[in-house]
């Protein structure tokens, strides 16, 4: 893989992550203006609970709850840097840069540890 392609790939991962999250956050935000954060865009019953509660995301997404759509967007945004590091591991490996593939893999593992283990 050429350095140019590598850069384009990392850049694309970031753009796609940002675009998906911006779209979801935006749809949720506009939806909230229409039916409220806990309403339903398909006319279902309004849910209850705090908008800071990220639990039962799939169930609330099924009723197109604006808060849930924005939460999915925020979660996608928070995952974007992790996806970028993962893409960099692949990029350095394809560039046959052993040293940096190893360094980046170590960063990815430390990152995942701190997200899922240290709470």
């Amino acid at each position: 893989m050429t350095p140019e392609k590598f850069r384009a790939m990392v850049s694309t991962v970031l753009i796609v992550g940002v675009a998906i999250s911006a779209a979801l956050i935006g749809v949720g935000f506009v939806g909230a203006l229409a039916v409220g954060w806990h309403g339903s865009l398909v006319g279902g019953a309004a849910s209850s609970g705090a908008t800071t509660d990220f639990s039962n995301l799939p169930g609330r997404l099924a009723t197109l709850e604006p808060a849930a759509i924005s939460q999915l967007g925020l979660a996608t945004l928070l995952a974007t840097p992790v996806a970028r590091v993962a893409a960099s591991v692949a990029g350095f490996a394809l560039e046959r840069d052993r040293l940096y593939a190893t360094i980046t893999l170590a960063v990815l593992l430390i990152l995942l540890t701190s997200i899922f283990v240290l709470r």
Binding site: F54, P81, S88, L111, F116, L118
Partner: protein, 267 residues
């Protein structure tokens, strides 16, 4: 939006603007404001870095190499958080930032760093490169100096993030520009690239704690993203000197804000 614009140019997260704006202007709870600022740091970083990486402003090797230091530092910081008194730490950090403002002023006139031959270590770690400067209209070569010092400072920056829950983009820029003598624009773009990872490392904690509220974070994220995209376009057209001029007030304000927090004035 202003937070995203300045963040993209200075290589720092928008937190310094987002937190006081939300708490003082909109009366938002401090925890939700910090949660929104974590989101804004990642939005600034990802939005601006997409352009910087493609345009060869970000040095990905420098970034990845130093992320090794910041992530391990952050884990150590998080583990030590219950042992160390944060008040003293805030004051010390604030003094370091204000002190480095002096160094920053003395470098104000310098457009590109000196081009001494690269060190053995820089060659072995492949930390020599160049970036296209559209303002100067040429390719500017550079190589990382004082790599162990830069690595140690980055470890400290990660440690501070883990201990205090802040992004520490300012410390990252200082380590790359001040210690490693990378060009200011490269330092800023690479710091931008890195702060998203630092923030993502602690994002899970904030989500779980219920500090991320879409009611606050959704509008902030959209505004900051828009600002970051504009800022990332602007960086090409301004000089290293101008980037320093944007960075200096950020440095002083963050320094003062940090000391104030250490002394117990909540912002």
């Amino acid at each position: 939006m202003a937070a995203g614009l300045i963040g993209a140019l200075a290589g720092v997260g928008g937190g310094i603007l987002v937190i006081p704006a939300l708490t003082i202007l909109f009366g938002v709870d401090i925890h939700l404001a910090i949660g929104a600022s974590i989101v804004s740091v990642i939005a600034t970083s990802s939005g601006a870095a997409a352009a910087y990486v493609r345009d060869r402003m970000t040095d990905m090797r420098v970034g990845m190499f130093l992320e090794l230091a910041t992530t391990t530092g952050a884990v150590c910081g998080a583990l030590l958080a219950s042992v160390v008194a944060p008040a003293l730490l805030y004051v010390l950090l604030g003094l370091v930032l204000l002190g480095s403002a002096g160094m920053h002023v003395s470098r104000m006139g310098e457009e590109t760093p000196p081009t001494d031959p690269p060190s053995e270590l820089a060659l072995r770690l492949r930390l020599t490169s160049s970036y296209p400067d559209r303002k100067l209209g040429r390719e500017v070569p550079y190589s990382a100096r004082r790599i162990p010092l830069g690595f140690a400072l980055m470890w400290g920056a990660g440690m501070v993030s883990g201990l205090l829950g802040i992004g520490s983009g300012v410390l990252k820029v200082l380590a790359m520009d001040g210690a490693m003598r990378l060009p200011m624009k490269v330092s800023s773009a690479t710091s931008n690239f890195m702060i998203g990872v630092t923030a993502a490392a602690s994002a899970g904690i904030y989500l779980g704690r219920g500090d991320v509220d879409p009611q606050v974070a959704a509008p902030v994220a959209l505004g900051v993203l828009a600002g970051a995209l504009v800022g990332a376009r602007l960086l090409h057209h301004i000089s290293n000197r101008t980037v320093r001029l944007v960075f200096l007030p950020v440095l002083v304000v963050v320094g003062l804000e940090t000391i104030a927090r250490g002394l117990g004035f909540g912002i």
